[in-house]
């Protein structure tokens, strides 16, 4: 009976009108910005005090728009495939992700001339296309999520071994101050396994918490406070401990922060106990203090937070030296942000891309804030909020605890990453090398984010089918 209903629902075609109507504006935005970029470059090349007259001969041709038109075509194909095979899946994720990843490609193209790699834009475009293919692969392939849950220990071991090998390799070969020491090279490809480890960790946490939810929520009473049962938490803490040691060992503070944040939010989601989170934060503060007093590189990161930019006329020689060396990135980023003002300098016309070190990935918020202004930055943060809203909505609607925890955990990855990197760029917390989801340059990050979106999409599709079956 239920199966017949499902079959009937699939048989009746639902066009994804909402998705189509939401896709139009983002794709226009992408084409508009791409159109603007050659003009901006021309403007910057020819500026010499007097006004440059406008003529149609300097307008970009279709040839200049090819990269973004390719992306638009790819998104359209994905939309059509989703309409045919997954009419019931969430309709808001694709438009938002298309806009964010398209802007990521645009910023890679824009930052390419002043970076180490002139082909960066095309590379990022290729990665986004690979991401879209993998996204479809996940949506089609994850018919049944049970095997994700069943082999959770296998996944966990695999992920840790992969990251472990990379890190040991990195420790032998490179020095720790190089920004990309958690890479794994396969010929021309270089992957960052840590990007995939975060997905594996969420799968593991979701599977484990889903099975032991009741026991962990129960807690062990010890006088007035209730402690989580240590025996049930054991595997979680072990997984957490190993990843924290791995990342702290190679000075990946941001990843350690991200993993710890995922752990706390999933523990809260699984147990519904605020006391665990407060306890976890207290432990975090203690650990942070120990780290601060033990490791010099943690102290160096914190020193940049203390930099007082507004008071620059009264700087001593020591502060000036600091600003020109360790504090350069953050100080230049803030200057760029403030020079953007409310409406921004315009896409392609800012200075952050040339002046801020690692502008294409770690400091993308500064570039964005300078060229799109405060208004553009707010809009983008709004898109991230909507992305989070949709993710948690999918989690709420899902029926099984594993699916709920998985969707919520994967969504929290986006939330925590955006929070850490934005706060780092704004000098609220120490800057860490975490990518802004979809916008920062980096293949592994984009591909991993598309896989996450694929899993969310599949969960929403499964939930919709189950509902039809039950109705």
């Amino acid at each position: 009976m239920a199966k017949q209903l499902v079959a009937k629902e699939i048989g009746r075609r639902h066009y994804r009108w909402k998705e189509l109507s939401l896709l139009i504006v983002p794709l226009i935005i992408l084409i508009l910005e791409m159109f603007q970029l050659p003009l901006a470059n021309y403007y910057r090349a020819n500026i010499n005090g007097q006004k440059i007259p406008f003529s149609t001969s300097i307008l970009p041709t279709v040839h200049d728009l090819v990269p973004i038109l390719g992306l638009v075509a790819a998104v359209a194909i994905v939309h059509i495939l989703l309409t045919i095979f997954f009419p019931k899946a969430d309709q808001m994720l694709l438009p938002i992700v298309a806009l964010l990843s398209g802007l990521g490609v645009l910023f890679a193209i824009r930052n390419a001339p002043s970076s180490f790699d002139p082909n960066m834009g095309i590379k990022q475009l290729v990665w986004v296309l690979v991401g879209l293919v993998l996204f479809l692969g996940v949506v089609f392939g994850l018919r049944n999520m049970d095997w994700l849950r069943r082999y959770k220990y296998t996944w966990a071991a695999l992920g840790l071994i992969l990251v472990g090998i990379t890190l040991v390799n990195a420790l032998h070969v490179k020095n720790l101050d190089s920004p990309t020491h958690d890479q794994l090279n396969f010929g021309p490809l270089s992957l960052q396994p840590s990007e995939f480890l975060k997905i594996i960790i969420v799968i593991f946490f979701a599977a484990y918490l889903g099975e032991n939810q009741d026991v962990i929520a129960e807690g062990v009473r010890l006088g007035p406070i209730s402690l989580p049962p240590m025996r049930q938490l054991g595997p979680l803490l072990l997984m957490l401990g190993i990843s924290l040691v791995l990342f702290l060992g190679v000075r990946e503070l941001g990843l350690a922060l991200l993993i710890y944040g995922i752990f706390l939010s999933m523990l809260y989601l699984g147990s519904n106990k605020l006391s665990y989170v407060i306890g976890g934060l207290a432990v975090f503060l203690v650990l942070g203090f120990i780290g601060y007093s033990l490791f010099s590189y943690v102290r160096a990161r914190f020193a940049a937070v203390g930099l007082d930019l507004v008071n620059w006329p009264n700087w001593t020689q020591a502060t000036l030296d600091f600003e020109r060396n360790q504090g350069l990135q953050i100080a230049q980023g803030l200057v760029a942000l403030s020079s953007g003002g409310i409406l921004g300098t315009g896409f392609g016309l800012g200075h952050a891309s040339a002046l801020v070190p690692v502008a294409q990935s770690d400091m993308i918020v500064s570039v964005l804030g300078e060229e799109f202004g405060l208004a553009g930055l707010f809009a983008l943060i709004g898109f991230y909020l909507v992305l989070l809203y949709r993710g948690f909505r999918i989690a709420i609607e899902a029926r099984e605890p594993f699916h709920q925890l998985l969707a919520a955990g994967l969504t929290s990855i986006f939330g925590i990453q955006t929070l850490i990197i934005c706060a780092g760029n704004l000098k609220l917390i120490p800057l860490t090398g975490i990518p802004l989801p979809f916008l920062s340059y980096g293949g592994s990050s984009v591909v991993a984010n598309f896989i996450i979106i694929g899993i969310l999409m599949r969960i929403s599709h499964n939930t919709a089918l189950e509902k039809e079956g039950l109705a």
Partner: protein, 148 residues
Amino acid sequence: MTLDVFLLILRLLGLVLLYLFLMQVVISITRDLRKTATVNQDEQSKLPPVIGHLIVVDSGPSAIPPGTSFSLNPQTTIGRGPTNTIQISESFVSSEHTRMWLRGGVWYVQDAGSKNGTFLNNQPAREALAARVGDIIQVGYLRFKLTQ
């Protein structure tokens, strides 16, 4: 027109489009939330309204404590068998003991061929009898009060 004016127009157009998209997304979210709210209301209104209860006033030799409440459906059967609306696993209750139904706002009680009988206010209910709120319905040795 100079180039910087043209660039300014493009920049403002870009910002306007960004906010247009944000507005579109937020509108479709609100619509979605409103839709789920009405769906939830529908689901709540689909639940059958509670139309009456039987409350145990005298448990007799059974283990059911006095004060236990059973909700009634428009068609309710009481008995030991698992197909009954109200299932009472006591040896003095027959597998199909009592039938109750609501018609025109009035409850009717009738014995369903039990061994120990059904009584309405101590009257044997071999034929259908009309019951009012507050009446005592006896199923075997178990006595209930009919309430709203």
